[in-house]
Amino acid sequence: MTASAEVARVFREEQGRILASLIGSVRDFELAEEALMDAYERALETWPVRGVPNNPAAWITRTARNRAIDRVRRRSNWRDKEPVLAHLLSLRAEEKQEKEGTVAEVIPDERLRLVFTCCHPALSAEARVALTLRTLGGLTTPEIARAFLLPEPTLAQRLVRAKRKIRDAGIPYRVPPPELLGERLQSVLSVVYLVFNEGYSASAGSAVVRRDLCAEAIRLARLLVELMPSEPESVGLLALMLLHDSRRAAREDAEGVPILMAEQDRGQWDRLQIVEGLELVERALRMGRVGPYQLQAAVSALHARATTAEETDWPQIAALYGVLESMNPSAVVRLNRAVAIALAGDVLEGLRRMDLLVEEGRLTDYVMLPSARAELLRRLGRWQEARDAYDQAIDLCANAGHRTLLVRKRAAISAAQLA
C-alpha cells in the first residue's frame, strides 16, 4: 500500500479513535483537530521516504500529541496551558516505554466520551449531526456538506461554532453519569437515526451519497453496540437500520420511482443484512427492557420474515404499534398503527383512526396521511374520495419519484368507477 493510501485508510478507519484520545489529552476540540491535521501532513511527507510505520495509527497519535505540545507552548496565553502541557508531557514520557502494539493497546478507547459530547443536548440538532459525522465518522467536511445539500462554508461554520460552544460553555468530555445516561443515550441514538433517514429517505442528493450516509449510520450504531453492549435500544436501532437497508435494492425502480413494500421483489432483499437484523432484534428483546427502536425493529423483522406480502403478520404488527403508541403517542405512530389495523383486516377501523388524525388537524403537511387514506378509500370502492385524497397527497409530495407513483395510482381510478 502506498503511503498516501495508508494515510487515507487511517483517516477512514481510525480517525474517531485517534481524535477521541487526543481530545481527552488536550481538552480542546480545535487544538486536537489542528494537531491531527499536522500529523497527517507529516505522515504524507515522511512515510514515502522512511516507509510506513508498523502501527500507523499509533504513529499518527504520537505525532499529533507532540504537535499539540508545540502548539500549546506557542500559545503564550492559552487557558489551562500548564496543566494540559504537564499532562501531555507525562503521556510522552510513558510512551517512551511503550512497545509497538495494536491500535487497541496503544490508543485507549475514548470514543464513547466523544459520542456523548458531540450529541450533547446543549448543541443544536444540526450541530450534533455534523459534529458526530465529522469526528466519529470518516467523512470530510465537503462530504458531509454534499450529503446535507449545504454550502461547505455553512457546514464548516456550524462545526466551528459547536466546537467553541463545547469549550466555552463547559460541556464536559465524559460519559454521562447514570442519572443522565438514559436521556443522553436517546439524544445519541436519534442523531444516528437522523443520519440514516437522511440517507434512506432524502428527497434529494445522489444515490451514492445517500448510500454512504446509511452505511455511516450503521457503522456508528455498530460502534455504540460495541461500546455499550448491554443497552437494548442501541441494539434495536442497529437492527432497525439493517432491516430497512436490506430493502434498498428493491424499493425503487430504474427511474427512481418508489415501489411499495407489498409490490417489491423480495428476492432482491439483502439476506445477510436480514439475518443479522433478525438476530439483533432477538438479542435486544431478550434483555427485557423494550423501547421504541426495538419495537420498530420488531415490526421491520415481521416484514423481513414474510416471504410474500400476503404472509405478513399484520395483526402482530398492529399489536406492536399499539405498544409503541403507549410509549410514544405521536401522530406518525398513530398513523402507522391505523395502517396496520386496516391491513390486518379491519379497513373501516383503520380509516376511522386516520380520519380522526385529519379532524385533529395533525400531520397536515405529511404526504403519508392522505396517501394512506387514499389507499383505504380505494379498497372500499369509495372512488371519488380516494381520488380527492390522492390529489391532496400529490400536492404535498416533494419527492419526484414518489409523486409519479401517486399520479399513477390516481390515474388508475377509471372514469367508469367514478361514474
Binding site: 500559545r75 496565553n77 492559552w78 487557558r79 489551562d80 450533547h120 446543549a122 466555552d168 460553555a169 463547559g170 460541556i171 464536559p172 454521562p176 443522565l180
Partner: protein, 121 residues
C-alpha cells in the same frame, strides 16, 4: 466554572396567580436558595423589580439618553438571576432545572467570562 442563571418570565400573565399561589412560589424559591447555599455553589442571587421600573441609558457623543422601560420590550422579561459556581455545564443545567423559574418561565444559562477567558479571547 461560574454560570449566570437568568430567569425570564411573563410579567403580565393573562391569569395572574392568586395570593396563595404566590406564597407557594415564594416558598419554592426560598427552599431552592437554601438548598444551593448549603451545597456551597451559590455566589449570588436576586429578584428584580418589574420592567415598569426600568430605565435604559445610552451615551452617544458624550450625551446620556434615557429611555423609560427595558432594553427590549418582550413578552418574557428578565426577572431575576442566580450566580453559581459548579464544575461544568451539566451541573449548571441540573441546577437550572431545579430553579422554580424554569418551571413557570425559562432560565437562560450563561457561562461567566473569567480572567483567563479575557486573555485567550
Amino acid at each position: 466554572m461560574q454560570y449566570m442563571l437568568l430567569i425570564y418570565s411573563n410579567e403580565k400573565p393573562e391569569n395572574p396567580p392568586a395570593p396563595e399561589e404566590w406564597g407557594k412560589v415564594m416558598s419554592e424559591y426560598m427552599k431552592f436558595t437554601e438548598a444551593i447555599k448549603s451545597e456551597g455553589i451559590m455566589i449570588a442571587g436576586d429578584a428584580l423589580k418589574g420592567t415598569d421600573t426600568a430605565t435604559t441609558v445610552r451615551v452617544r457623543d458624550g450625551d446620556a439618553m434615557h429611555t423609560d422601560g427595558p432594553f427590549a420590550e418582550t413578552k418574557e422579561a428578565l426577572g431575576g438571576y442566580y450566580l453559581i459556581d459548579v464544575p461544568d455545564l451539566d451541573a449548571a443545567l441540573a441546577v437550572a432545572a431545579r430553579l422554580p423559574g424554569s418551571w413557570y418561565g425559562s432560565v437562560e444559562v450563561r457561562p461567566v467570562m473569567m480572567p483567563e477567558d479575557y486573555q485567550s479571547a
